[in-house]
């Protein structure tokens, strides 16, 4: 097709089962301007090299499977259109997580970190007959945080997380914590705030804004962490009540 544009996919490939080091490989595929990079990857797997390995599922930015480093920046392959990329597209697995194969990384440490902050709503007593009420204004406080699809782009982009993977909770966990701490229905906010205020929590964030820059869901990640910091300081200075 004439409107097709030839794209070069330069992909960092590594099968730790067979090679001791990663290698770079280049594929040439044609992609419509409005096609996604994921379409290109599928085309490569279907036509050129069936062993190319990557994750994919929903293909429209709702599941977070195809997070990878695209031209040096973490993003979702299904959300990056061909027209918005240069002729050579460089793809690497997400940094900071162990590589399983090609563009697939081990997300277990990431989910484990999220699990550490008690990511569930804690009720204060038996629930009422009907729904608990929550004003639209109160709901707005968590509107940003509930957009998270846990793709790992933010955490993997964070230099602090990369430096101390086994220590720092990482931005995604903090967003998850904020989702509950700012939820007017949550009774466990105080305990959870203590948790993220520990030495591996919010204080490790130096407002580097990498997470904010890469978030495919446009969540103000750094802003949310700053809110947590303010809340933690307020809680230290003021008598205990739920600050905004």
């Amino acid at each position: 097709m004439e409107k097709d544009r030839v794209k070069k996919f330069r992909i960092k490939r590594w099968d730790p089962e067979r090679a001791s080091k990663p290698r770079w490989e280049e594929f040439t595929v044609s992609l419509d301007p409005f096609e996604r990079l994921l379409d290109g990857l599928i085309r490569i797997k279907d036509n050129l090299d069936g062993s190319l390995t990557f994750r994919s599922s929903c293909a429209h930015g709702m599941c977070g499977s195809c997070a990878m480093k695209i031209n040096g920046k973490n993003a979702l392959a299904c959300q990056t259109l061909a027209k918005n990329t240069p002729e050579v597209v460089v793809l690497e697995p997400l940094p900071a997580f162990p590589v399983i194969k090609d563009l697939v990384v081990d997300m277990d440490p990431f989910f484990e970190k999220i699990g550490r902050i008690m990511p569930w709503l804690l009720e204060d007593g038996p629930p009422p007959e009907r729904e608990r009420t929550q004003s639209p204004e109160e709901m707005k406080k968590i509107l940003d945080a509930i957009k998270c699809i846990m793709c790992g782009c933010c955490t993997s982009a964070c230099p602090v997380y990369r430096a101390g993977k086994d220590l720092y909770l990482g931005p995604a966990s903090l967003v998850k914590a904020a989702r509950f701490i700012f939820d007017s229905r949550d009774a466990g906010w105080e305990e959870r705030l203590e948790m993220v205020s520990g030495k591996n929590g919010i204080w490790r964030c130096h407002s580097i804004y990498n997470c904010y820059e890469v978030c495919p869901r446009s969540i103000d990640v750094t802003g949310i962490i700053s809110r947590l910091k303010r809340m933690s300081v307020k809680k230290m200075l003021l008598p205990p009540r739920r600050p905004g």
């Binding site: 602090v160 430096a163 101390g164 086994d166 220590l167 720092y168 203590e194 205020s197 520990g198 030495k199 929590g201 919010i202 204080w203 490790r204 910091k229 933690s232 300081v233 809680k235 230290m236 200075l237």
Partner: protein, 197 residues
């Protein structure tokens, strides 16, 4: 360990805000005089240390600076050091070094107070240049007439002054010798005043 993080973070920020003012004062008084100026000459420092306000200033400056700096270093250590025991050792080191530095600073200040009580005899020199920043800063802190309240014997060397301040300096009976750099008119006027003594 209740919310130590928040306290540390808060103190770090608070000390940072303090440092902005303290460092501004420090730079204006010491470093912005031009390289040839004598704001950190032995005499000038002793002059400042003779004032309790400056003494307090230096104690606060020292403490805040050390807290801010060493808390910062500790923060970096927390980020990169995984082994708990090593981290504890680093923490102990940082605390020890910062305390030692603080103690030596305090020792220097105390030592200066002892020297002030028993000073070597020196002449007083006056710079009648009211426009320079250090003068304005000293005026701001109410320290622009350092000889007032000073003992006769105290060493006083090279301070900035202008207009009325100079007049009061020249007429002050405790000032014995006056050297002057500045414009001729002012110089001659001063000479006349001094002759009246």
């Amino acid at each position: 360990m209740r919310n130590l993080g928040a306290t540390g973070f808060f103190l770090e920020r608070a000390s940072a805000i303090l440092l902005v003012f303290l460092l501004a004062a420090h730079f204006i008084v010491i470093h912005f005089q031009g390289a040839g100026e004598d704001a950190w000459s032995h005499g000038a420092i002793f002059l400042r240390l003779s004032s309790p306000l400056w003494l307090v200033f230096y104690i606060i400056f020292l403490s805040v600076l050390l807290y801010h700096g060493f808390y910062g270093l500790w923060g970096i250590a927390v980020e990169y050091v995984r082994r708990v025991s090593l981290l504890a050792a680093i923490r102990a080191c940082l605390v020890a070094v910062s305390l030692a530095l603080w103690a030596s600073g305090i020792f220097i200040l105390a030592n200066s107070q002892m020297l002030l009580a028993n000073p070597p005899a020196l002449c007083y020199k006056c710079h009648a240049r009211g426009s320079i920043p250090s003068y304005r800063a000293m005026r701001f802190f109410g320290l622009h007439r350092p000889w007032q309240g000073a003992q006769t014997e105290r060493a006083l060397e090279n301070f900035p002054a202008s207009g009325k301040d100079v007049e009061s300096a020249v007429t002050d009976p405790r000032l014995k010798v006056l050297s002057f750099t500045g414009s001729a008119t002012v110089g001659w006027g001063l000479k006349r005043l001094a002759c009246d003594k």
